[in-house]
Structures are given as structure tokens and as C-alpha cells.
């Protein structure tokens, strides 16, 4: 398994076990997120309890930790449904967290009340993705931008120059409009009179009204055309410099993230899988998911034509019932087999797909039987399954285990088949949840050394002497 060996040495090269924090960690972070969880549909309703049903919650964000330092832009990137927007909204307390802790400037956000909370809401703002639905169509631009002042009771006293409080607020709004590149006399207009890019500028002006320190930018440019997107990105850059703002930039477009962010966290199915300084993460991606993601992005250059892209197979699993261990293992091109299994990754993936189907109870025995010649044609049944699942040849113990499992299936004993396959093929990736290491560029993946306290999702059926888990250095290398 040359790939494995490669990766293991890779891991050793990058692991610096001095427990050092990122280089950017000078002083306290402005925002500290620890083990944040947000489950939707948590807790059964009375109705469901009466019916004896248990509701399954959607684990949108499932234990993520990161810091954001003053003046930096941290990117949160991932595909739809990975929980990035939920993270942004939950850490601003726009949604209640299920568990975990968020500190803003040293204060626990979820413990704040009264004045403290109002103060937090002034200092931390958000810009939403969709400029068409995030502005009230019945309010003028001036009213929209000055609404934060009204809510926070500003100005506290009427200005000395004889303007009313309302006039003061509208004047402020006009000033903000100019700052975001629109004209001050737009205050009297309504949102429908503006294009998408202009509306997004209004959204940014509203977020700036209370002179915040921290802004969550939730896909601020993804609804915009490229030429307008570039204008808004430049504007965000300028504003950050001018006001010393700190951004959490949520996006799915990797090119945009690379352009604007200082550090990037890659999310997959509610977890952060990799975190690092932007250039390092893009030039030397560690996690197989990050690599696949970068690989998939079409570059706007002639060299892109004919570039071979091996896309990730399959879809993101449901967050209601995420895979055990590593969330990415159902699509990962580098799942770690037990040491005595000598299959190629492709052949191992085929076994894993069959196992996944069985364990998720998605295996349709009847359909397979319909391909057999007659009721009791076990060889026909088995050869159909082989045809359906396996294109690579298996040998030795691997072949024996698969044959036994298919035999069990032909006897209708799915449990037995699952057990046989698990005994032989179980991967560390499915039993143990990988964690982010304590370093500047950690990756939550078993290909790299894992902390000793990595949570075990499912007790392994046999020991994994070879897999290099639990911080055991030597065994990782000797496996090959």
C-alpha cells in the first residue's frame, strides 16, 4: 500500500507535538468557539412521545472549535448542508446552541443578559447571503440602515444642532451609504430599485451602522455576478482596513475564500476537518476531503481543458444519521484498512460500500434474488451480488470473508454477514472520530497522528495494532 506509507510519513513530517498554538495566537482571541453543537429537532414532541416515536435530530453542527483573532478574516468553507451558516448564526446567538461555549472578548456569549447582551449585539453583526430577501421591501434604504440605531436607542440625546433624532439617524445612514460606494441621496429609495450588488452594499452598510468589531459574512457574494462580486470583495477589504474589522467569512466558493481569508476552516457534515493559514491549506491540503474539494474546482484558465479530475463519488450522507467515526469515510478515497488486509483502495472501497449498504439496512435481498434463476439458486444469487458490488478480484482471507458473508446473505442472515465483514474489514476510520491536533494546521484524519483522547464512536471488534491511532507512532510505520 504505497499510498498509506506516503501518508504516514506525511503525517510524521507535519506533526509538531510541542502543543504550540497557532503563530497568530498573540494574546486572547476575539472569538473563541469551543465544542459548539447545534442539533435541530432536538427532543421529541409530546405527540411523538405519545406515539412512542423517537425523533432523530439533525446534527447540523456537531462539536466544532476554533478561534478568531482581532483583525483577521477566518473563512468557513464547505458544501451545502455542512453546517457553516448554522455555525455563524449560532455563535452570534441568533439561534440557541445545543451545547458548547462561545466566548467573545473573554465573555461567555450564552451567559450574557440585559445590557451585556445588547452590547454584544452592537459589537457583533451579520451580513446575510440573499440581498433580495434580507431587506424589508416596505422600508426605505434610509430606514433600513438606521434601524439598528433605533433598536439600540441611539442617539441617546437629541443632537445639539437642532436635528431631530430621526434626522440624525437618516444623516448617519446617508454617510454610511457613501462609505459603501452608493450615493447619499439613495436614502429615500426602496430596495426594489436596486440591483443585487447594490442591495448587498446596503446590507453591509446596515451591519456597519453600530460600529461593530466583528462581522459574520454569510455567503455575502454568492448571489452576485462575478464583476459585481469583485466590487463587493474589494469593498469588504477596504472596510476591514479602515475600521479594523474582524470577519468570519462563510462561503462555498474556494477561490473567493482564498482571496479574502487569512485562515480557513473546512467543514464537512457538521465537523471541521481541517484548519490552517490560507496559503498553507491551499498549497498543502492535508485532509482527503480538502484535497478533493480543491481538485474539483474548475480553474478559469486554458490549462483547465482536459485536466483529469477524479471527482468524489456519491453524495453527502444525511446529518440525521451521520456515519460513525470519521464523517467522510463513506466517500473518502483513502480509508485505512486493517494491517493484514492487502486490498487496493478501490477493492477495499467496494467491500466498504457493500458493508455500508448492509449496515444501513438498505440492502434489498429480493431484488438480488430476482436475478437468480430460481428460488433456491444460491450460486446465482451470490454471483449476482459479486457482479453488482465487486469489479476487483479478491484473494486469500479477504476472498474467504466475502464468500462467507455472501453465503450468510443467501441464507437470509444479514446480521451474520455484517459481523463476518466487520470482523475482517473494520477500519479505524469507522470506529474512532478523528480530532484536530493542537497545531497551526491540523487535520481531523487518521492518516495523521491523532490525540490519545479521540472519541470512540463504536467499540472496535478487534484491536487495530496497525492503524497508528491513539498516538502510537511505531505501529503506524511498521504496517507497511
Amino acid at each position: 500500500m504505497p499510498e498509506r506509507h506516503q501518508s504516514t510519513t506525511d503525517g510524521e513530517r507535519t506533526v509538531t507535538t510541542d502543543g504550540g498554538r497557532p503563530a497568530t495566537t498573540d494574546g486572547e482571541p476575539l472569538l473563541r468557539v469551543r465544542d459548539l453543537k447545534k442539533y435541530y429537532g432536538e427532543g421529541s414532541s409530546l405527540f411523538e412521545t405519545l406515539l412512542g416515536r423517537e425523533s432523530e435530530s439533525v446534527k447540523a453542527v456537531d462539536g466544532i472549535s476554533f478561534d478568531v483573532h482581532k483583525g483577521e478574516t477566518v473563512g468557513l468553507v464547505g458544501e451545502s448542508g455542512c453546517g457553516k451558516s448554522t455555525t455563524g448564526e449560532t455563535l452570534l446567538r441568533l439561534r440557541d446552541a445545543t451545547d458548547g461555549r462561545v466566548e467573545f472578548d473573554g465573555e461567555d456569549v450564552y451567559e450574557m443578559d440585559g445590557d451585556e447582551r445588547t452590547e454584544f449585539r452592537r459589537r457583533a453583526q451579520i451580513v446575510f447571503q440573499d440581498p433580495f430577501s434580507s431587506l424589508d421591501p416596505r422600508m426605505t434604504i434610509g430606514e433600513i440602515i438606521s434601524e439598528p440605531y433605533r433598536i439600540h436607542g441611539l442617539p441617546e440625546e437629541s443632537p445639539d444642532d437642532g436635528r431631530s433624532k430621526r434626522e440624525w439617524r437618516i444623516d448617519q445612514a446617508a454617510e454610511l451609504l457613501e462609505r459603501v460606494g452608493l450615493s447619499a441621496n439613495h436614502v429615500e429609495r426602496y430596495p426594489h430599485e436596486f440591483s443585487g450588488g447594490q442591495r448587498q452594499r446596503v446590507g453591509i452598510a446596515r451591519a456597519l451602522a453600530l460600529e461593530p468589531e466583528f462581522i459574520v459574512l454569510d455567503e455575502p457574494v454568492s448571489a452576485l455576478d462575478v464583476s459585481v462580486q469583485a466590487q463587493v470583495l474589494n469593498l469588504l477589504d477596504d472596510l476591514q482596513e479602515e475600521f479594523g474589522l474582524t470577519y468570519l467569512f462563510i462561503a462555498h466558493d474556494l477561490s473567493v475564500v482564498r482571496h479574502i481569508c487569512d485562515r480557513v476552516a473546512v467543514m464537512y457534515l457538521g465537523n471541521i476537518v481541517e484548519l490552517g493559514p490560507t496559503d498553507e491549506l491551499f498549497d498543502d491540503p492535508q485532509h482527503p476531503y480538502t484535497r478533493a474539494l480543491l481538485e474539483s474546482v474548475p480553474r478559469a484558465a486554458v490549462s483547465e481543458s482536459g485536466r483529469h479530475v477524479e471527482p468524489l463519488a456519491g453524495d453527502v450522507p444525511s446529518p440525521r444519521n451521520p456515519p460513525s467515526g470519521c464523517r467522510f469515510r463513506t466517500r473518502c478515497p483513502q480509508v485505512i484498512p486493517p494491517g493484514d488486509v492487502t486490498l487496493s483502495q478501490e477493492a477495499y472501497r467496494e467491500v466498504m460500500d457493500l458493508r455500508d449498504r448492509l449496515e444501513r439496512d438498505e440492502f434489498d435481498a429480493e431484488a438480488a434474488w430476482s436475478h437468480a434463476d430460481e428460488e433456491a439458486d444460491k450460486p446465482g444469487f451470490k454471483s449476482h451480488l459479486r457482479e453488482e458490488f465487486f469489479s476487483h478480484e479478491l484473494t486469500g482471507d479477504d476472498e474467504a470473508a466475502v464468500e462467507q458473508a455472501l453465503e450468510a446473505l443467501s441464507n437470509g442472515d444479514t446480521e451474520e454477514a455484517i459481523a463476518i465483514l466487520r470482523e475482517r474489514f473494520e477500519s479505524v476510520c469507522e470506529t474512532t472520530r478523528p480530532l484536530l491536533q493542537e497545531r497551526t494546521h491540523p487535520a481531523a484524519c487518521h492518516l495523521y497522528e491523532q490525540p490519545a483522547d479521540a472519541p470512540v464512536d463504536r467499540e472496535p471488534v478487534r484491536a487495530h495494532p496497525e492503524s497508528g491511532v491513539v498516538g502510537n507512532d511505531e505501529t503506524g510505520a511498521e504496517a507497511d
Partner: protein, 420 residues
């Protein structure tokens, strides 16, 4: 390679309450056998309407008002050589001059389309397999009776509908077409196609639905597949799957694809030649290399300068200032439509600009220089920029101001497009 489609001077108008919208303005391009031709542009640039005009799917209040769409089909040419000689040129027929019924019968076996949003393009209350089988069935009946449109969709009238609702078990599709549907699902890479064919659209993920849409489009084995933003609604890893699938299918079936997208990366990965659209015109077209490495039109340059590069993040993007202009006829005027945003606008740009061959600097059109590979609707194709003739920054008035009134009309036009 021979052309399969020659579009010449195509014009499409929408007649709205605000006035006449020139959604497509004198568009010309060719599509060759077995190539992927890309049309790239920002929203409202007219790229979707161009494709819909080619396959005659424009609906009221829109109308194709001018131009020719030459499609190579020897059988059709023979059939109409006598009857309508003006509509035939060698093996080519001008689709716009053929009877409506014939044009309609070409949808499926000649042209077919994959839409942007797979969620809203499939019927949620019919199983995926059944919907694809319907498409297969339509094509099967059409083949049995090629030039009749009655045998296809109109055969299913009110009478049959009533009979079907009273007598259960009578279906439009047959067993053969259902089997073919399963084959198609397998061909587009849907695992376990027999089981998935029985499922409803909501049980499919976005990527799987887009595969099903493609299967449906392939039902008639089209010569030309129009893919309108086929991956815009999808995540990047799923996008990679679908793009690979489209490329493989294009090679296997030797069809041509017209790929419409706003994403220059998708263009670069997929296309052989590209047309860049702005304000209803193809402002520049050429090979991938022409467009990405030697762009002539300042809009093409601006578009390329606006996208952040994944490999090499430049500290500052150079966006195009201003906004897309109104496409209202009354406001269009006879100048280069990009002049008000163009950094290199000169006095010559205030005239209407024809398409130039960038090599020779000669005008392309009316059969002249039709071979030109790299063309641009820009004065800069014929001469260098001359600062002495440059228009002042404030020539078009305050840019922010000038662009404001455009929005409601723009929105109206967008709605029209999606309705069509």
C-alpha cells in the same frame, strides 16, 4: 469538423409593459460536430434566451424577430428542397422557415435541453422512472410517425384523460419505454437504477436529480444538447461528477453540446470554443486560448480580472465598474453597449459596432469572413487604443446614477426568461 448548426443574426425581443426588451441582438455563432460550444455571460446578458431561441422555446411576450438558424440534416433538406427552396441550403435547413410542426418534431431527436434547477424541472408527484419513460415514449411514437405532431403529445387528449382516470391501470408509457428509462438511468451513473426509477424526485439528491434530467434529455438521442447552467445549483464535488458525465456522454454519443454558464471555470474545463455575451450580444468569440489568453474585448478582460484565482490569489481584484445596462430598446441607442463601463471607451465606440475578425480587422457578416475564428464586437479589434480620442470619465454621467433605473426592468426581464 463540419458545422451542425449555424446561427446568423438572431434577434429575440420581449414585448413587456415597460417597452420592447432586446434580449438577443444580432447573435451569430456556429456549433460543430462533436464539440462543446460555451456561452458565458452574467445574469441578464441573454445567454439562456439565445439557446431557447435556437430551439424555438421562446414564449409570449417574447418572440424571435429575425435571423436564421441553419441546422444540418440531409433528410429534412431533401424533404423541403422542392417545397421551400428558400429554407434549404445544401444539407442545411433554416429552422425558422420550416413549419411549426416540423420544428416541434425536432425537439428530442435533434435538440434537447438540460435545465438549471433539477428540483423544479421534474414533476414531484410522478416517479422519476415514469417521467423518463414518458420522454422515451414520446420519442418512440414520434419515430413511428416522424412528421406528425399529433401522434406525440396531442394524442393524449381530454377523452383519454377521462378514460384513464376512470379505468385505472391504463398508462401512457409502455413496458419497453420503462425498460429504456432504466437503461438511461444506468447510463448516467445512477446506482441501483431499477429501485431508483420507482422513487419520487424528493427522494433524490440534487446531483442525482441532475443525472435524471440528463437521462431524460438523452431519451431522443439528440444531435445537440443544450445545457443551461447544468451545475449552478450543485456543490463543487457534485459539479465535478456531472461535468465528467456530460463530457463522457458527449464523446460516447458524438453529440454537440451548447453549454450555458456564468462560470468561466466550467467553460475552461468543458468547452472547445466560447462566445462571451454582454447585453444581448456575443461581444467576443473564439477558441479557449483566444478568449482566456488573448482577449480583445475589454469586457472579456474585465470578466477575467474579476474572478479570484485559486492558484494565485492576487491581492486586489480588478472588477468592472458599474452595472449591466437596461436592455430596453428605447434606451439602447446605437453605440457599443459596454462603452459606459469600458475603461478604453473612445469616440468611435459611440457608433454601433459590427463583429470584427481580430486577425484581419475586417467586418464579419453577411457571409463575408464567416470563417473567422476569433471575432470581437469592439473597435480595438481593428486599431490600438488612442488616449486622445478617449471619452471622459463623466461622459455617460454619474455611473451609479445612470445604472439605477435599470433594475426593475431587469427584474421584469428575468421573470420573463424564467417563465419561458
Amino acid at each position: 469538423m463540419d458545422e451542425i448548426l449555424r446561427v446568423r443574426d438572431l434577434k429575440t425581443r420581449f414585448f413587456t409593459e415597460e417597452g420592447q426588451v432586446n434580449a438577443v441582438e444580432s447573435v451569430s455563432f456556429d456549433v460543430r460536430d462533436g464539440e462543446i460550444f460555451g456561452i458565458v455571460g452574467e445574469s441578464g446578458s441573454g445567454k439562456s434566451v439565445t439557446a431557447l431561441s435556437v430551439i424555438d422555446l421562446i414564449e409570449s411576450p417574447g418572440r424571435v424577430t429575425g435571423g436564421e438558424v441553419w441546422y444540418r440534416n440531409a433528410d429534412l433538406a431533401d424533404e423541403f428542397r422542392e417545397k421551400r427552396s428558400e429554407a434549404v441550403d445544401g444539407d442545411f435547413v433554416d429552422l425558422r422557415r420550416l413549419p411549426k410542426g416540423v420544428r416541434r418534431s425536432l425537439r428530442g431527436p435533434s435538440f434537447s435541453m438540460v435545465f438549471q434547477d433539477p428540483m423544479s424541472s421534474l414533476n414531484p408527484s410522478i416517479t422519476v422512472g415514469e417521467q423518463i419513460a414518458e420522454a422515451v415514449e414520446v420519442q418512440r411514437r414520434a419515430r413511428a410517425n416522424p412528421r406528425s405532431t399529433r401522434s406525440r403529445t396531442q394524442g393524449y387528449g381530454l377523452g383519454k384523460y377521462l378514460v384513464d382516470s376512470i379505468v385505472p391501470g391504463r398508462e401512457y408509457t409502455s413496458t419497453e419505454s420503462k425498460e429504456r428509462a432504466i437503461e438511461l438511468l444506468e447510463q448516467v451513473g445512477i446506482p441501483d437504477p431499477e429501485a431508483r426509477a420507482e422513487e419520487y424526485p424528493h427522494q433524490f439528491s440534487g446531483g442525482m436529480l441532475q443525472r435524471a434530467m440528463i437521462a431524460q434529455a438523452l431519451a431522443g438521442e439528440p444531435d445537440i444538447l443544450v445545457a443551461d447552467e447544468p451545475t449552478t445549483a450543485l456543490d463543487v464535488t457534485i459539479q465535478a461528477q456531472i461535468l465528467n458525465l456530460l463530457r463522457d456522454l458527449q464523446r460516447e454519443q458524438d453529440m454537440s453540446i451548447i453549454m450555458i454558464t456564468h462560470d468561466l471555470g466550467v467553460i475552461a474545463r468543458m468547452c472547445d470554443r466560447v462566445g462571451v455575451m454582454y447585453a444581448g450580444q456575443i461581444v467576443e468569440r473564439g477558441t479557449l486560448g483566444d478568449i482566456f489568453e488573448n482577449p480583445v474585448h475589454p469586457y472579456t478582460e474585465g470578466l477575467l480580472g474579476s474572478i479570484p484565482d485559486l492558484e494565485d490569489p492576487s491581492p486586489r481584484l480588478s472588477p468592472i465598474e458599474g452595472n449591466v445596462p437596461s436592455l430596453l430598446d428605447s434606451e439602447m441607442g446605437g453605440r457599443c453597449y459596454f462603452a459606459d463601463r469600458c475603461p478604453n471607451a473612445m469616440e468611435a465606440c459611440l457608433n454601433s459596432i459590427p463583429e470584427y475578425d481580430t486577425d484581419s480587422g475586417e467586418v464579419v457578416g453577411d457571409g463575408a469572413n464567416a470563417e473567422a475564428v476569433h471575432t470581437a464586437r469592439c473597435v480595438l479589434a481593428t486599431r490600438e487604443f488612442d488616449a486622445a480620442e478617449a471619452l471622459g470619465d463623466d461622459y455617460f454621467g454619474d455611473r451609479a446614477e445612470a445604472s439605477d433605473p435599470e433594475t426593475p426592468d431587469d427584474a421584469a426581464e428575468q421573470e420573463v426568461v424564467s417563465d419561458a
